[in-house]
Symmetry: C2
Subunit: 654 residues, 2 copies
């Protein structure tokens, strides 16, 4: 490429993104960055008043207005506000972590979702890396290695009031000398901010020779009863580098938390179940590292969110009293633990932070989802539902929140479903039916040959079968239809979604009446929970200003079809938003911002738990919901209307 002429064209090189652009001399640096796809915070929109778009001019010159947002010292160091700077020469611009745009934290969530996540937080991960260059010791200055390091951290990084892990002390002499007195120090804010304005004491957890700031990663996990989802995060760029999910290895010990707890009571049971989920986590980590080519050495932190039982078993805390009235968890707030002490294959300095839970049946996953979705930040009356094995629901806003859990069972995650599977490549997700010949049109994740059915696929399939009257509102097949796809199978009647030769597994992939029954019970539990909880706080579903649906069961959910089968209430469609795995979203945002970490305690403490299992109306609502969409047609006016339109047509075809 030709060099930029001495005249008007200038080259701007952005670090650490490694992006080069050629622009006109005098171009506004913030605009250049936006055009180049380099993320820079600018909450005031470029007015120069917020001071969030600071960048460091490493080479070359910009013409810049100095506002009050820039200290004398910063100015001397070459720090400038991007929005106040115009390109004067070829320049190299370093965009520091704190100036990167928060929206970069989204991975595959849609633009729409971006509007629903928590806002107003700064990019300041609890895990930090600091580079210091120390003066080597002399006879006149023979402070200990640790004192030298702490003085350096104070002078060069303005870090004080630190706690130092013993292993760091042990590694000090070698690291300092191997790095020729230049080292990278990793600090972690472990505690959520306590009352009374105590200063935080960041913990020094690791020291490495040389400058290793560029390698700075952490892991976020959603530990579900059925599936475990993990993300590898780049803490310099606030980005998801890789994502992976797997069935929770505990599944072989039972499908719901109650069975798992019972298993834990057998001799050695807790240890076995703990090992099973740790093995799954290790598999996910391995896949994340392989995909991303990141070394385990550079993982510095793990944040997990899970329901109370999953969290306790993961940590080796006996879940016995979760199952017995009055349903007591060991602890809602658990201190951070050395991840390797649990068997997780990461370096010894890596701490695991588990999201606090609210009660035995309202876990850290829901707290994480609420924080991630920013429900606590808005005045809107919001209904939040995490569609999963435990089916946790929340209603509230920035002032109050009530929560409950409705034990949906594993159907939404493919559990208890003959060909059910996790939402991975080959899972049937989209489904429609040709009403003329009852032949299906299916779509799979990754457009691969079908392998099974994921949770969102199951909803779509049942909705499709219902609409075409292949099944009745009681979930039973209409065996009189002229198609060989409906047949008797080992689990009662079934419908063939894909013939063996078209699949990856050389078997006919079917959906059975048992599968449909499982889904009906799952959706009935969720809907009954929703009804019971809303009525218990004196509102009706029509009052809900926003319904946030979270779930690990697929990349997206078809709201219309979910209403059609009676999972979601029949209210205006624009109030619904699907955010994907909310638990993982909250874990990720917390990995990116200590501000969010601070919200976590507040949210967990503001939630009031509601025991559905103790309520008669919940059981009544549940039984009434064991129908497609519901025994009470008035609850689902739009669905009833559509079903009644279809009816005559179908009845003819015999």
């Amino acid at each position: 490429m030709a060099k930029s002429e001495a005249g008007k064209k200038k080259r701007v090189y952005f670090r650490p993104d490694n992006i080069n652009v050629i622009v006109e001399r005098g171009a506004n640096l913030l605009e250049v960055a936006i055009d180049a796809g380099v993320h820079i915070n600018a909450s005031c929109g470029g007015a120069g008043t917020c001071g969030t778009c600071k960048v460091s001019i490493e080479k070359g010159e910009v013409e810049s207005t100095k506002t009050a947002k820039l200290s004398e010292e910063e100015y001397k160091q070459g720090i400038r506000q991007a929005c106040q700077s115009r390109v004067a020469t070829d320049v190299t611009v370093y965009v520091p972590v704190e100036s990167r745009l928060e929206k970069a934290v989204l991975s595959r969530e849609s633009k729409e979702v971006a509007g629903t996540i928590a806002t107003g937080w700064r990019f300041n991960p609890p895990l930090n890396k600091h580079f210091v260059e120390l003066t080597p010791p002399t006879l006149e200055d023979n402070a200990s290695d640790l004192s030298r390091l702490l003085i350096g951290l104070k002078r060069q990084c303005n870090l004080s009031n630190l706690t130092v892990d013993f292993d760091v002390v042990r590694a000090l002499p070698k690291s300092l000398r191997d790095g020729d007195w230049k080292v990278t120090v990793t600090t972690l804010v472990t505690a959520v901010k306590s009352r009374a304005g105590d200063r935080r004491r960041p913990r020094v957890i690791n020291i490495e020779a040389g400058d290793t700031r560029e390698k700075h990663y952490s892991l976020a996990f959603d530990i579900g009863t059925t599936t475990v989802c993990g993300q590898l995060l780049d803490l310099n760029r606030g980005r998801v580098i890789a994502e992976s999910l797997a069935y929770n290895g505990q599944i072989s010990y039972g499908q719901d938390v109650i069975t798992r707890i019972a298993q834990c009571q057998k001799p050695g049971g807790l240890k076995k179940l703990q090992r099973a989920v740790i093995a799954t986590i290790n598999d996910v980590i391995e896949e994340l590292l392989t995909k991303s080519k990141v070394s385990t050495t550079h993982i510095g932190h793990i944040i997990v969110a899970g329901n109370t039982t999953m969290t306790q078993i993961l940590l080796g805390l006996d879940p016995k009293y979760i199952r017995l009235a009055p349903y007591i968890p060991v602890a809602n707030f658990v201190p951070p633990v050395e991840a390797s002490s649990l068997g997780i294959q990461v370096k010894k300095h890596v701490y695991l932070f588990a999201f606090p839970s609210v009660s035995s049946y309202v876990g850290g996953d829901i707290v994480s989802g609420i924080v991630g979705a920013g429900v606590h930040q808005r005045e809107k009356l919001t209904f939040y539902m995490d569609v999963g094995t435990n089916g946790e629901i929340v209603i509230g806003n920035s002032d109050w929140m009530v929560t409950a859990s409705c034990s949906a069972g594993p159907a939404f995650e493919g559990g208890g479903v003959k060909f059910g599977m996790i939402a991975r490549e080959g899972a049937i997700e989209d489904f429609s039916l040709n009403p003329a010949n009852f032949e299906p049109v299916i779509g799979t994740i990754g457009k691969a040959k079908p392998k099974g059915i994921c949770g969102s696929g199951l909803i779509n399939i049942v909705a499709g079968l219902l609409e075409s009257q292949v099944i009745g509102q009681n979930g039973k097949f209409n065996t009189s239809l002229p198609t060989e796809r409906i047949r008797a199978g080992s689990d009662g009647n079934e419908y063939v979604l894909s013939w063996a030769p078209e699949t990856q597994i050389d078997k006919d992939i079917v959906i059975t009446e048992v599968d449909i029954d499982n889904l009906m019970r799952a959706k009935a539990a969720m809907y009954a929970g929703c009804q019971t909880l809303t009525s218990s706080v004196g509102v009706s579903t029509a009052d809900l200003e926003q319904v946030i649906i979270a779930g690990a069961f697929g990349s997206s959910i078809n709201i219309e079809k979910a209403i059609f089968i009676g999972l979601l209430p029949d209210i205006p469609r624009d109030r619904f938003i699907f955010i994907g795995n909310g638990s993982l979203l909250g874990a990720r945002l917390t990995s990116f911002s200590t501000d969010i970490l601070d919200d976590v305690r507040r949210v967990a403490q503001m939630m009031t738990n509601f025991e559905l299992s103790e309520r008669v109306d919940f059981m009544n609502n549940y039984v009434a919901a064991l129908f497609l969409p519901h025994t009470n047609a008035d609850e689902f006016p739009s669905v009833s209307e559509r079903l009644s339109k279809n009816k005559p047509k179908r009845r003819i075809t015999v």
Copy 2:
């Protein structure tokens, strides 16, 4: 025993001491306690103004004046000032920990020593046990186990802002239910108070079912290059329960710290040396527990003081750079470590606190000694010397302190001495000589048959031999004397202290010229250090207002004899005080009082280190001191006078 009559005689029962006394009605409670040997603080001497003698009247009544030192609430709870109370009926009096007399912390130190230890501190051990009775959970009150515990600790023990160890969380459900919601919680103040008035965050380290407050012990250790001394402390009563000492198992890897550091550089060397000292510590613990019949379960804390090298090796911190200029320790302040992770045989919840050091050659043992002796509390110009393998010395007062170490070698602890031994039973400690026939009169520790010579014994023997001119001022034997006790041995000439049949070891116990030479070099290093350090701060030995001698080499040191051989300066004898193992004293007092723990940081930071090895005058002073008592007779006027008196007399005896 007959019941006390309804009339004048009343019974007073003191808890937890379990002491009963019969007294006149109207007797002053403080005086009753003093007479009964029950320790109660009363720093104002009974005037009612200090409020330190508070006791709890559990049964019966006292007539009491309520002063401003007693709050309304305390008064209602039955708390009284002992000095303001007169016995009215039979009473049961509970003396709380904070009211017990600080002098109770002394073990075998003399009354004289009691005047030299740190004063003004309250009895408030960093390790505490708290008993709470919780309300069992119900459906209406189904907080987590941990929340329930923390609320109980706040309401019943006024404890908040706690950090909870993860293992405690893990043990919670079982402990709470085993104890029927009554449990004992152990807390530890691990950090020394930091600047800026941050509140301490005590750490919850253990939970036990039921009320276990009565079993509340800790360990204090002095980890010397040559010997390891340990004490088992009763933290309810502020008493030493048992004491034990043993040779540091590292001795087989070399006698001084330099050799030990060199050994650590071999492959696996550090690990080996660490294991050696841990094995010694475990032996000492076992002996302490056997002696006292205390179970290891009830040990809750360990405080160790040692020189920098010993501390680093104990903790597994590479001491490599201690030996190389510019002599850098890894850390002066080391965070507390789980003792069991080092291999120490105590429960997992036990933390080990190591005294901070000042530099590579001024260790935690000297900081501990200074704090224990209260040098930092007084204006008096004090010279503190720890007579041991490292020979650490301090000069200063409450305003300033300079320190140095003078590498005396192991002679004072029986190392490098043919029949040298630790100061245990059978060690020759006292020695005198019949000038008529040169026959010795020896005294041993425990009055047992002799087994060897301890450090203080060595000083007494050499002084005795010198005074009787059995050896000359150069340390060589006068072989012309008419006694078969002087003879040629494998290590040059020697003197038989005890013939084989009189010993426990069936060998002649002798002192050799090599032994004497080792002692001379050791005392020369100490004396030269003293001279160099005093002159470097512009004072002379005559200016010293107090000389505190510490050492693990025997139960006492004969000051006169130590001056006679030139170990201590020839100044008025009433300025000297021997406090025994100062390092252990400080470790013990710190175990008893968080106030002292707070002093530790301040003292370590106020010490200025002085590298003697870099000074020419130190070498000159050392060479000049390689004589008994010194080549410069003017330095030791009183000794010279005595020697010259003896001379003619001795010369005749050929």
